[in-house]
Each structure stands twice: as structure tokens, then as C-alpha cells.
């Protein structure tokens, strides 16, 4: 699967949870390259990513996306009782891809051969997060949505993630990262969107 030029956009999007607007009239176009979503806790960063991924109903507005995205949320999205290898193989097969490359991707993210076959709940939080981020390599889609991807990562893994994000950007993929920290990403970003109380304040 070769990444292709792609983009996503939200037009006048409002998302409401329990009568409380979490996103308000948000209009953004995402071009290929790295876009950072910045904002304090509760600003609506996660909801914005989930809106792009089509995981939340829109109370108002429209979403357009050129291709199915890879969405990696704040939690690892790995099913307990299965190993990291089985989880990543499942995700690849579901997308119609072979299981090739899963071992290499997990190895590249520092998951040892033994740990690759252990149930994910027996791994440390950092190992689970790294196994989850190995999906960047095993599902090389044109659009990637990463929600606070640096959570639980040590310095070495954080550096690995920055490299992976930079490589995806250089391949022409649309990478959208929500994070309230990691200013070093600013140098890689083509655009930064600031959110506060569900509204875009900087673009």
C-alpha cells in the first residue's frame, strides 16, 4: 500500500456531548504534512481528531476525508488477552493486508521477540504504547491521526516517534497530532491549530 496525497477538512463542525458543545463551528483544512493540534486539557483536541476519523456524530457541519485514516487514540486500542503481534496482524488483515512486516515493525519499536507473543496486559505501559505506535509502520495510510502519542514514552521512544512522524511527513502523508506539550514538534509542523473551549483560536 503506497501512501497517496490526501487531505481532510471540517466545515462549521459542532459536536455536542450531553447538551454541552465540545467543538463549536470548527472549520479547518488539513494539507499533507504535519499539523499540530494544540490546546489545554478539555479544549476539544481529542474530539477534533475523533470527528475527523468519523468516530463522533456531528451536531452540525460536514466532514470530508480523502481516504480512510489510521487513528491511534490516547489509549493503545490493543485487545487484552491477545499479543501485540496478534493485535497488529488483526489490524493489517482487516485492511486487506498480509501479516508481513508486523514482526519487523514491533522489533523497530523495541518490542523483544519474547514480548511480541505475550498478552498485551503483561507488557509495561510504555511497551504497550510502543506496540500501538508500531501501527504507523504496519498500516502506512495516507492520513494519520495521533492523539497524545507521546504518553508513557521514555526519551528514546519519544525520539523514535519524532523520527517516524518526520518520515511520514516527508513521504507526503497527512499527519495530524494532538498534543499539549512537545514544542520540539513545532519545527516539523507545517501548520498548528490552537483550540480553546472547542473553538479554533489560532490557525
Amino acid at each position: 500500500m503506497r501512501p497517496v496525497q490526501a487531505s481532510a477538512s471540517l466545515r462549521d463542525v459542532t459536536v455536542v456531548f450531553d447538551d454541552r458543545p465540545v467543538l463549536r463551528d470548527v472549520t479547518i483544512d488539513f494539507a499533507p504534512g504535519l499539523t499540530l493540534i494544540r490546546g489545554p486539557n478539555g479544549a476539544g483536541k481529542t474530539t477534533l481528531l475523533r470527528a475527523i476519523a468519523g468516530l463522533v456524530p456531528l451536531a452540525r457541519g460536514a466532514r470530508a476525508i480523502a481516504a480512510d485514516p489510521l487513528f491511534i487514540g490516547q489509549r493503545t486500542m490493543l485487545l487484552r488477552a491477545l499479543s501485540a503481534r496478534e493485535n497488529l496482524t488483526f489490524y493489517r488483515r482487516f485492511r486487506g493486508l498480509s501479516a508481513d512486516g508486523v514482526e519487523a515493525a514491533l522489533a523497530a519499536w523495541g518490542i523483544s521477540a519474547r514480548d511480541r507473543d505475550r498478552p498485551v496486559e503483561q507488557l509495561s505501559a510504555g511497551e504497550r504504547r510502543r506496540a500501538s505506535l508500531a501501527r504507523i509502520r504496519t498500516e502506512p495510510l495516507a492520513i494519520m491521526l495521533l492523539d497524545e502519542p507521546f504518553t508513557e514514552l521514555d526519551d528514546a521512544a519519544s525520539s523514535e516517534l519524532r523520527t517516524a512522524i518526520g518520515a511520514a511527513r516527508d513521504e507526503g502523508r497527512t499527519v495530524i497530532v494532538a498534543t499539549h506539550a512537545h514544542p520540539e514538534l513545532d519545527a516539523l509542523a507545517g501548520a498548528t491549530v490552537g483550540l480553546r473551549e472547542g473553538r479554533v483560536i489560532v490557525e
Partner: protein, 222 residues
């Protein structure tokens, strides 16, 4: 990847997780085994062998086993947002319902096999039409999970779902339980036409609730 292929992938993933962490199936098998053992003690050996009593208790136990297995399955999915990972995939919402129903039906078949054999041996049930009984049990096992999976999905984000799911599911399951119990009774008593008629009704329930589930679960999961 076809829709059926995706359903198969979800079912295999579910069964693999259940094999590694068989808490749900162990609890369900233990529950039905204890029920069969207690049955003859509580109602007496003569009544326990009645062709109406034993199947009714057996199917009530299977209904609870379905609820237990389905709740366990979705609890595992909610941990670490594995469910969101699945529904974020293209075709994931559509495959969720079918995959869960297939996997839970397989789990239920194992529970039914153990419970059925225990009932036949311990209660010494005189079984007139074994093949007809197998048909009724297979269709009953297929008819129960769609209702429970739909109910669990509808109650997924509610804190009180452990209490709500049985309350929501059991009234809807009554027609299936009646059909399965009457069909099994007919097979035990030697009424071939009656057993197959009830089996046909179970098949219809499975189709109707299968279509309902395939239609509303992708929307409800949002």
C-alpha cells in the same frame, strides 16, 4: 476484504481472546452444571426428568450464559479502547455485530454441549429424537446472541449496564426461550413435527434479530 471476511476476522479474534482468558466460558459452564445438579435435588428426580421442566431450566441457564459471555466480551473490548480501534477501521462497525454473534454462538455451543450432556446423563432423560434435539439446540444457540449483543451495544456507555442488560434482554428473549424449550420438549417426547416447527421459529427469530442487529448496531455504536 469482504464483509464476511471481516466478520470472520472479528470472530476469530474474539475466540482467540476467549481461549486465552476463558473466564466467561468457565463461569457459564459452571453455572449450567450446578443448575443441572441442583435441579433434581430441588424439584425431585421424577419432576426433574419431566420433558417440559428440564429443557426450560436448560434454556434459562443458556440465556444467562449468553448475557454473561457477551458482557465479558465487551468489557474486554472497552479496556484500552480496543473497541474504538475496531470501529475506526473501514467496515469495522459492520463487522462488529456479526463477528460477536458468531463467536458468542460458538462459546454458547460449548456451554450447551456440556449442559446438555450433563442433563441427559445425570437426569437420565429418555431422549426419543436426538437429531431433532440437536437441530433445536443449534438454532436456539444461534437465536440467542443477536438480541443480547444488540442490548449490550445499546447499554455500552451506561454505568449500570451490568444490571440493565439482563433487564433489557430477558423480556425480548422470552419468545426464543419458549420456542427453544418447547422444541426440546417435543424432541425428548418424540414429537418430530413439533420439534421441527419450533426449530423453524427459532430460525426465523435468528434471521429477524440478525437483520435488526446488522442494521442498528453500526449506528448505535457511534
Amino acid at each position: 476484504m469482504t464483509g464476511l471476511g471481516r466478520i470472520g476476522l472479528v470472530a476469530v479474534r474474539e475466540l482467540r481472546a476467549e481461549r486465552r482468558e476463558p473466564d466467561g466460558i468457565v463461569a457459564a459452564v459452571t453455572f449450567i452444571a450446578v443448575l443441572v445438579l441442583l435441579e433434581s435435588l430441588v424439584v425431585g428426580p421424577v419432576v426433574a426428568r419431566d420433558a417440559d421442566i428440564a429443557p426450560a431450566l436448560f434454556w434459562i441457564a443458556l440465556a444467562f450464559a449468553t448475557i454473561l459471555a457477551t458482557m465479558r466480551s465487551f468489557d474486554r473490548e472497552l479496556e484500552d479502547d480496543a473497541l474504538e480501534g475496531l470501529v475506526a477501521l473501514p467496515g469495522g462497525r459492520d463487522a462488529l455485530f456479526g463477528g460477536k454473534v458468531v463467536a458468542i454462538a460458538v462459546v454458547l455451543a460449548i456451554v450447551a454441549l456440556v449442559g446438555g450432556l450433563l442433563s441427559l446423563v445425570l437426569l437420565d432423560l429418555p431422549l426419543a429424537l436426538p437429531l431433532h434435539l440437536v437441530v433445536v439446540v443449534v438454532l436456539g444457540v444461534v437465536a440467542l446472541p443477536p438480541v443480547v449483543v444488540v442490548d449490550v451495544v445499546l447499554a455500552l456507555r451506561l454505568r449500570a449496564r451490568a444490571a440493565l442488560v439482563p433487564i433489557l434482554a430477558l423480556p425480548v428473549l422470552v419468545p426464543q426461550l419458549v420456542a427453544a424449550s418447547r422444541g426440546a420438549s417435543a424432541a425428548i417426547a418424540g414429537d418430530a413435527v413439533g420439534a421441527l416447527s419450533w426449530a423453524g421459529l427459532l430460525f426465523a427469530f435468528a434471521v429477524v434479530y440478525g437483520v435488526i442487529g446488522l442494521t442498528i448496531v453500526p449506528a448505535a455504536i457511534e
